[in-house]
Symmetry: C2
Subunit: 429 residues, 2 copies
């Protein structure tokens, strides 16, 4: 038996347009597989005049966004506008009105997740957001449902395709950061303003969501340490390869006895690690736990097609539960937990210095590290005199100690320049 469900859509950009086209084009296949037909009743857009990739019937489009939620024919709201405002209040209003919501809005969920999840729970309706992280990669549902019984230790993700494309270009074609960014923009991977990508802000919102679901303790985007890839140089990428690493922008979510820490930064990833071989705009998420050991999920992290598939999966799931008429409990509950300040997190550092190679310089540098309580794992020198490049890789120490060691370098006359500092992906907690 087929059941029809009325859809209200907020936003009809790339993903929204693809979604509506798929709902029409694949309607028979979806009905055969799920017993459901989706009837798009209202589409809220900012610009009524813009062309759409789907047939626009009378009364379908509205620029009074609230109408989408209030329409009595709308049983399920799909939010694909992005951004905090007005999306946040619209999603909240829909949930409070007892309408299930599917959203792809990572920024909104990272910022207002607990409030929206609580509203969904009060109304007993599903609030699903598979597309918010990893685009077409199923990760939210596996993490919050399939792995609900696992005590996850660590989640490491390449969750921003633009930066992974740039770093792959720099590595494979030995291009500069600027040239790689230009290539990413030309190919449509990077926006005209790529700040959210290259600064790590996009990845930080996703990291907050992954950490929250993995550990059951809410991590807000303000709790995520965030460093972008703007300072990564072609020299670092080349040195990384020489030392057996690939440079990747990682989201690292970790739980130790001290608590949960979440961070986004460029990292030296050992070449034998599965994440090292994730190329171009592909995303990947690596999950570690005592029973599952490690799991890898990889696929397209963005784009209209993959994202629409993730949204559609959520719509089918939400419709199934909603039509059953049940008051469903949320898929995951959050408990208060300790968040560890990043300065207390143990990290390993790679540092590239330019030094004046006089006798005793290495002793001075080593002394600074020793005083800060950081022990050096390896040192490698290239060149001589004032052009000597020194690569220092440290052992695990707290960020606080590593930063103190770094400060001590600036006090040494022979250290001409601290070229860069990149953390190394270690074996974890």
């Amino acid at each position: 038996m087929e059941r029809s469900i009325g859809i209200g859509l907020l936003g009809a950009g790339t993903v929204g347009g693809t979604l509506v086209s798929r709902l029409i084009g694949d309607a028979d296949a979806i009905a055969a597989k799920t017993g459901l037909t989706f009837d798009v009743r209202k589409v809220g857009v900012r610009d009524l005049a813009k062309e759409r990739p789907f047939p626009v019937t009378d009364g379908l489009l509205t620029d009074r966004l609230r109408e989408v939620i209030d329409d009595p024919g709308v049983e399920l709201v799909v939010e694909l506008m992005g951004g905090l405002d007005p999306a946040g209040d619209l999603v909240l209003a829909a949930l409070e009105a007892g309408k299930p919501v599917v959203s792809a809005n990572k920024e909104l969920i990272a910022a207002r997740g607990p409030e929206l999840i609580a509203a969904a729970e009060r109304s007993g309706v599903p609030f699903l957001f598979e597309a918010a992280v990893g685009g077409g990669i199923p990760i939210i549902r596996p993490l919050s449902e399939t792995l609900a019984g696992e005590t996850i230790d660590r989640v490491i993700g390449i969750v921003n395709g633009t930066t992974n494309f740039i770093l792959t270009e720099m590595s494979e074609n030995a291009t500069s950061y600027e040239a790689a960014l230009e290539a990413a923009t030309e190919l449509g991977y990077a926006e005209s303003d790529p700040t959210a990508d290259v600064s790590g802000a996009d990845a930080a919102a996703k990291a907050a969501i992954l950490a929250s679901l993995a550990f059951g303790t809410w991590v807000g985007v303000e709790d995520v340490f965030c460093e972008g890839i703007e300072a990564v140089s072609a020299a670092d990428v080349a040195f990384a390869a020489e030392f057996g690493y690939a440079v990747k922008l990682l989201a690292v979510c970790e739980r130790t006895d001290a608590g949960v820490s979440t961070r986004v930064h460029p990292a030296m990833v050992p070449l034998e690690h599965p994440l090292a071989s994730i190329r171009g705009a592909t995303n990947a998420i690596f999950i570690e736990g005592p029973a599952i050991e490690s799991l890898l999920f990889a696929g397209p992290g963005a784009g209209g097609g993959p994202t629409a598939t993730a949204v559609l999966g959520d719509m089918i799931d939400a419709a199934r539960e909603t039509l059953a008429g049940a008051q469903v409990a949320p898929r995951i509950r959050f408990s208060p937990g300790e968040l560890v300040d990043f300065t207390e997190v143990f990290t390993e550092w790679y540092m590239r210095l330019v030094v004046d190679d006089k006798p005793g310089v290495l002793a001075k540098i080593a002394g600074g590290f020793g005083d800060a309580g950081v022990s050096i794992k390896s040192v490698w020198q290239e060149g001589v005199n004032t052009e000597a490049t020194l690569i220092v890789v440290t052992h695990l120490a707290t960020e606080r100690s590593q930063r103190e060691a770094l400060r001590s370098l600036h006090a040494i006359d022979e250290v001409i320049e601290v070229g860069s500092v990149i953390r190394v992906l270690g074996d974890g907690p």
Copy 2:
């Protein structure tokens, strides 16, 4: 608020024992994350006297298996016995009694899936089997829920850890099949009777389940073409590496306009394909679709810990729906669809021949292929005279044609031996 749910367990071997220990040891963590506590009320076992890795309270164990289902305190049945009998009738009885069932039994689901899923639908209770394929890798839920809106073209899996361990050993340590099998047995990867693994039967049951969920058309295990790895030689594995391939036992589920085909056989996987680098006992599943392009899932495919995690995830999900008191619709519906006979499927073949290298032999061989309608992609010869090894790789042709070409070889006097035939993983439909 915490809700308690009474569990009846059928089978307490490796997975069952691990599961009960986890339910006790991780009870607080599970309750915090899900709001659920699991109370194991009855455990059905064959041998009451056997030692268990969990505290056995009075009346917990029974060897009258039906008691587990009939116990009024049992709200959810977990079947971890394996095999068709008596597991099948017990699962059916539980579903008919309106009790949700979680099972890890690939053999049972491949053999009686439609019947059991129909019984679950009649009773409006969940019947979940995430652990049946890929052990700890979340694959059943992603395939049947997250990707329900995708028109999947192909699923390719390394779904048997024992055979992947053996093939990895043969490749990395240049050992014979027999020596690698012995190593697998010593390390506990292979059973004392490894027939189900090396014959491909275990992978065939999993392939049937994957194909059914991916395409929404039920594929029984009897519909799966199945060839094991017993005939793969060290020479083939070495030649594969030389030609840029890794030999893997693959489950290939494909949908074309002609219909669905499902098969298990050793395959030459191009080294640049993500499945080529899956080593040891790891499992991996690669999914192709028009919108998602390709997704890779990799992780531990067997073992008590990973499998218990998958079972626990299903239990949490089933409990959540059951406690909501809803009559839930099944997650996927199956429609009748065309199944393509394997002889009509297009494949590419690698063949290793030993020939007497006389003038004209290649022309005779090529003639046989041509008559069968198979065109040759590449030929490579090593050695001379009666010891010459000829490697032939064909272009895509139907299995029927490839087999006809193979038969023609036997009629050529100079062909001393057809050493082996391995299909090549191509670009798909």
